[in-house]
Amino acid sequence: MNNATVLPSFVAGLMLAASAAAHHSAPVFYKVNERVTISGTVTEFRFSNPHAILKLDVVAENGETQHWTAETTSPSILRRRGWSQQSVEAGERVTLEGMPSVDGSYLVRIVRAFRADGTEIGVPRGTDN
């Protein structure tokens, strides 16, 4: 199953504010007005500033295993939304919604993350926290 799907961009404004972080610029690396959804098995999760990194294997429709890299906003911010180094474990299956990369590589900027049972990882935040 190829789980990479580009979603409509009408939600861009709010979600950009939700996920953009400074210094390592989102618009430089990502199409901030587009969304992609991928599902796969976590191979690595590192929870350190400036951005947490999640590596996962995604099986494409042709059976090929794609090695994706996903980054979050700053862990400092995520800690206040219920994330920690223990939030995700290697071997766990997750679904990520995020911004696709500008260069087309297997890189995504996470906006929301879900466990296999559909539970959202961390605490969703409002428009202003």
Binding site: A22, H24, P27, V28, Y106
Partner: protein, 260 residues
């Protein structure tokens, strides 16, 4: 990169100064505490509140109010209406974003003008002779000298510069120079070491702190630029940032049809 011992010493010094500042507060103005920057829209992306409008009235005529405060970031080539020097505009065209993931640059603080408006909390310690502002972003610690009226000409340049402050009623006015050249927008445009930053801090209510920054830098742009920030009080402390310089290696090792 500073050694771990040096970083710990610097953080310890900042904490000690913060404690000193807190102990010296005979007439607090209420700005001490933990503040989170608003993730919502800020002026000019929404109408200003009365306090914001009053502080914006202090901007010089013709000031360009930037729309990238908070979580918003300008895309490459977008400079918010600022009239950049031609040389800077040309340099920005050849900006290589890959530099953002280099191990040697990943944990280099971007400087105060950019750092204060990033979507990270700050913690203010208000004293008589010093006001200390700890930024969660890159563990930056600002010292505002309230007992000095002129800048120290020999002060070395740094990401936090040299700041002197004064109270105008309940408005804290902070004047900063000696800033290391650093990014303005995080998209390839840097200010020079001659940038001059003026900030105003004022409570809109006990739980809302409005901060304006206005800055000039004739070497990089014409006129005055400004941002408006709004912080919400919280019961917390800033966390250690403890930047990991190897972050970029994970980004640079990405795979896929267009990966470098």
């Amino acid at each position: 990169m500073p050694s771990l011992a040096a970083r710990i010493a610097w953080l310890a010094a900042g904490t000690a100064l913060a404690a000193t500042a807190a102990a010296q507060s005979p007439e607090a103005h209420g700005i001490a505490g933990f503040w989170s920057l608003s993730f919502g829209a800020l002026p000019p992306r929404r109408n200003p509140s009365p306090t914001e409008a009053a502080l914006m009235a202090e901007f010089p005529r013709g000031t360009v109010l930037l729309g990238d405060a908070g979580a918003v970031e300008f895309a490459p080539g977008d400079y918010g209406g600022l009239e950049l020097r031609e040389s800077l505009r040309e340099a920005a065209k050849s900006y290589d974003p890959a530099a953002q993931t280099e191990v040697s640059l990943t944990c280099r603080p971007p400087g105060l003008i950019y750092s204060m408006q990033g979507p990270f909390p700050i913690e203010v310690f208000e004293g008589r002779d010093l006001i200390v502002i700890k930024l969660e972003y890159f563990d930056l610690v600002r010292i505002v000298f309230m007992n000095e009226s002129e800048h120290d000409a020999d002060w070395p340049h740094s990401p936090t510069g040299h700041s002197i402050g004064r109270w105008d009623g309940d408005t804290l006015i902070v004047d900063t120079v000696k800033l290391t050249a650093g990014t303005l927008f995080n998209n390839g445009v840097d200010h020079t070491e001659d940038a001059h930053l003026v900030e105003r801090f004022e409570l809109a209510d006990p739980n809302t702190l409005v901060v304006t920054q206005q800055f000039t830098d004739p070497g990089s742009f014409t006129g005055t630029a400004a941002r408006v920030l709004a912080f919400t009080r919280g019961q917390d402390h800033v966390y250690p940032y403890d930047c990991d310089p190897t972050y970029g290696l994970a980004i640079d090792s990405r795979e896929g049809p267009a990966a470098r």
